[in-house]
């Protein structure tokens, strides 16, 4: 007996390794056995990182439906095998399998690796879907989307599927995500008598005050809004940033609809914009009103701690995305399946246009960027790429996507697909204001801005003091940051040229019937990466130089020039004359 024990102790490491090897070998063997296709059977392996409730069920369910449909048409069955990989090792799993040539047929793209690596993987290991995605989806026949090109059936027009660098559509999305405010309906009712919180900002604040004033049995106060450093960012982007939309009119010098950090620099340098602009002041005023409703010490809290606070019914509201919807709803159910509390979902509160402080900047709702989620790409090692694409068409058809999202509890990506009842309030608002506050030029200004923001949020300095301290440092450090950015841009243009030349070489092997299309893509890519940026940068350099020399008064970007006004009037006069004749 002692001998056996001694043997085990002396060879513990060896035994452990042997056991791990045996387990790994067993897993590989069983998986390989599962991957062997039977007669009249097609196996598709699908890889994703969605371990949330419902997702795997949804894939299985849609897989069965698709298989039935495919069987009727071809006499063959399709079996879907899922590799649901935890987020923490997703990048490694995908890399190992793609490089090793053992990749699943369909891979959900976007997590665990940098954008640059994903781009290279898409280029090397995935099948471009451009020609297929431009054709109508056959599973939409008989619906209102019949005959519509597949890419245009998505709420974002297929933008998320398109890879600018590769000039190809590479993935097919299955759902959209949005961020909303979740709340404990029962707790809200208990503390305020309301089951639906007010949407108007001041009424929402008054309700928060009422919540905060009440104590639990242990004597501690209730927290209106669960928050952490992470959640603070969500609050700022959804509630405070949209108030800076009007900065467009002061700093969007190239009028592309966005204010870049360089444009803000030019605007501040020239004096056209000041950091105490009323829109910026409003942004900080709303942040100041928000933070007292957060839990004590929220700046040091992690994301999970805020969720915990909500799950323990110590906080009433928490902002998060649809991906957490089912999980949060599950937290509200105890081990016996009994509902502990009801979870409600609303859009974020916002000031109205009649608000005395925020009214001039509250010109509309906030813009919700549709966030298509984890689109699937087809790998080059896939034995049945046509069937894999059909499966994606099936999941992302009008009816298929409705069913898929109903099971998983997410928002459909297909235009016009019914949103599950519980997620109605998640429907993205596509017409609204977005933030245009870009207060730092590069690293140095960013660090200083963050430092001062932290001090401001802690209540140690006022907004005016923050602006007073930041402006001269911004102008000084901003110049250095801008010069660094220009150097980076020059270095970047070398990299772009290298990439473009390699793309151009690859055109030589493209079939003759696709030469013209590919040459167009190459020319378009060259224009976007090298030609237009060179000219636009030259204008930007001039703009910033002019903004500081006092010689040129920068025109307001959205102000009609006298010449344009006069031409517009002349055209109208002619129209009048024609009408009266």
């Amino acid at each position: 007996m002692m001998a056996i024990f001694r043997f085990l102790v002396n060879n513990a490491a060896l035994i452990l390794i042997a056991a791990a090897f045996a387990w790994a070998a067993g897993t590989v063997w069983t998986r390989a056995a599962r991957s062997i296709e039977g007669e009249n059977e097609i196996i598709l392996r699908v890889c994703h990182w969605q371990l949330e409730t419902g997702y795997r069920d949804a894939i299985n369910e849609l897989g069965k439906d698709f298989s039935d449909d495919y069987f009727k048409r071809t006499g063959k069955r399709v079996t879907i095998i899922q590799d649901a990989i935890p987020e923490t090792v997703y990048g490694q799993f995908v890399s190992t399998n793609l490089i090793g040539g053992t990749a699943p047929d369909l891979i959900s793209v976007g997590l665990g690796l940098s954008n640059v690596i994903w781009r290279e993987y898409l280029n090397r290991y995935f099948v471009p879907l451009t020609s297929d995605i431009n054709r109508p989806n056959p599973f939409n026949v008989g619906t209102k989307l019949e005959g519509v090109p597949f890419k245009q059936t998505f709420v974002d027009g297929g933008r998320s599927s398109y890879n600018e660098e590769l000039q190809n559509y590479m993935t097919v999305p299955t759902s959209v995500h949005a961020i909303r405010l979740f709340y404990n309906v029962d707790l809200l009712e208990k503390l305020t008598g309301l089951r639906t919180p007010p949407k108007e900002w001041n009424a929402f604040l008054a309700m928060s005050e009422k919540i905060k004033a009440q104590k639990k049995a242990d004597g501690t106060h209730y927290t209106p809004l669960a928050s952490s450093k992470y959640h603070f960012g969500v609050w700022v982007s959804t509630v405070a940033d949209p108030l800076t939309w009007t900065l467009l009119h002061k700093a969007d010098f190239n009028r592309d609809g966005y204010v870049s950090s360089e444009e803000t620099f030019a605007a501040v340098k020239s004096g056209r914009l000041k950091f105490d602009d009323p829109a910026i002041r409003a942004r900080y005023a709303i942040i100041t009103q928000l933070s007292p409703s957060f839990p004590e010490g929220w700046t040091g809290k992690q994301r999970d701690e805020a969720v915990f606070l909500f799950a323990q019914q110590r906080a009433v509201f928490i902002p998060t995305g649809t991906w957490d919807a089912r999980s949060l709803q599950q937290q509200a159910i105890d081990a016996d399946g009994k509902q502990i509390f009801e979870v409600g979902i609303i859009d974020f509160p916002s000031p109205t246009s009649t608000d005395p402080v925020y009214g001039p900047f509250a010109l509309g709702p906030k813009y919700d960027r549709p966030l298509p989620w984890g689109g699937f790409g087809i790998t080059r090692t896939c034995k049945h790429p046509d069937v894999a694409f059909e499966f994606l068409q099936y999941i992302s058809s009008l009816e298929g996507n409705e069913k898929f999202c109903r099971i998983v509890g997410w928002i459909p990506v297909v235009e016009g697909a019914a949103i599950p009842e519980s997620l109605r309030s998640f429907k993205p608002t596509l017409r609204g204001m977005y933030g245009n506050f870009t207060p730092f030029v590069g690293g140095e200004t960013n660090v200083r801005f963050e430092q001062l923001t932290d001090v401001f949020i802690a209540g140690r300095i006022t907004f005016d003091e923050m602006v007073r301290q930041y402006t001269p440092e911004y102008l000084d450090k901003g110049e250095r940051d801008y010069n660094l950015a220009k150097r980076d841009w020059k270095r970047g243009s070398l990299g772009s040229e290298q990439f473009l030349l390699a793309i151009r070489e690859s055109l030589k092997t493209v079939p003759a019937d696709r030469q013209r299309e590919m040459l167009w893509r190459y020319a378009s890519l060259t224009a976007r990466r090298q030609l237009f940026p060179t000219v636009d940068r030259a204008y930007q350099v001039k703009l910033i130089a002019d903004s500081g020399n006092g010689l040129v008064q920068l025109p307001a970007p959205y102000e009609l020039s006298a010449a344009a006004r006069s031409r517009a009037k002349e055209k109208l006069r002619k129209t009048f004359a024609l009408e009266s004749n």
């Binding site: 549709p370 060259t526 344009a564």
Partner: protein
């Protein structure tokens, strides 16, 4: 005992591993070496690309092959930021131009174009951060256009030459850029470069303050791009928005502005600028109402004037 055999066993395993790892296949052809090198360069694996290209230079058996290999090697030596050797790259490019001097040449024009590009990309002092183009490179672009006028490299050289001229932002250079674009587009409407060149012409017209011509050029560029891009692979939301803006603020063509803002809303409903377009439409309505009022007042004043 175990200690005595362990090194011997390790040696044996190493020898076995080396033998099994050896490539016993046929040596790669020059074309295969080049393909592998370009693939490596595309994904940023510079050392690997240089190894393949160097090997291709050594094993090339014809002047054409040698020229291709030298051009490829020059690319991987001149553009990456990792251990560049621009001087050797220039030498290789000059050699490639000489080697591949036949009339139906393929590589020489690309080599000449890269030499010109190096003028813009490598010959400007990196610390001169405000200088983006090198006027000295322009003659080299012109040289490509003159020596190989029908080769695709000539079209690309023209695009870079026009870019260099427009980026200078002077009236003379802008005028020259417009001439180069018009000369090309008049006879090459179907070229994939035409829409891009018109986009550059629009920027040159901006320098000259010719707003109405600029608006017409932007519209022509968009229409041409959509015609060539039959598969609809490119997104045009930015172009459409830009036309609305030029029409409203520069050309004073409110009808065109209204048309393109509405087009953005209809074709790209999820675009972030849709809200801006809606605001712009309201702004135009208000402006038009004001202008109509002014015109009416002026007309009344004219009529009542004795």
């Amino acid at each position: 005992m175990r200690r005595r055999f362990a090194p011997a066993l390790a040696c044996c395993l190493t020898v076995v591993a080396c033998f099994t790892g050896c490539d016993k296949g046929e040596p790669l052809s020059v074309s295969q070496q080049l393909d592998l090198g370009w693939e490596a360069l595309r994904v940023g694996n510079i050392d690997s690309s240089r190894l393949h290209f160097e090997s291709a230079i050594t094993t090339a058996s014809s002047n054409q092959e040698r020229a291709k290999a030298k051009f490829a090697m020059a690319t991987s030596l001149s553009l990456p930021q990792i251990t560049p050797d621009v001087e050797r790259a220039r030498k290789l490019l000059s050699e490639a131009i000489v080697l591949d001097a036949d009339p139906g040449t393929e590589t020489a024009p690309w080599a000449a174009l890269l030499l010109a590009r190096l003028g813009d990309l490598r010959d400007i002092d990196p610390d001169a951060v405000d200088i983006l183009v090198n006027p000295d490179a322009r003659d080299k672009y012109r040289d490509v256009m003159t020596r190989w006028p029908t080769h695709p490299a000539a079209q690309e050289a023209r695009a870079y030459l026009v870019t260099s001229l427009v980026a200078a932002r002077t009236p003379d250079e802008a005028t020259e850029a417009i001439r180069l674009v018009d000369e090309f587009v008049a006879t090459n409407q179907d070229s994939p470069w035409s829409a891009t060149l018109l986009g550059l012409k629009s920027r040159a017209l901006r320098t000259l303050g010719r707003s109405e011509d600029r608006l017409a050029t932007e519209i022509q560029s968009l229409e041409l791009a959509r015609k060539i891009d039959a598969a609809g692979t490119t997104e045009y939301a930015g172009n459409i928005w830009g036309i609305g803006i030029i029409a409203e603020f520069e050309a004073g063509d409110l009808a065109a502005a209204r048309k393109y803002y509405s087009l953005l809303i209809a074709e790209y409903p999820a675009d972030q600028r849709v809200f801006n377009a809606e605001q712009a439409l309201k702004r135009i309505d208000a402006l038009e109402a004001t202008l109509k009022q002014e015109i009416a007042l002026e007309n009344t004043a004219k009529e009542t004037r004795p």
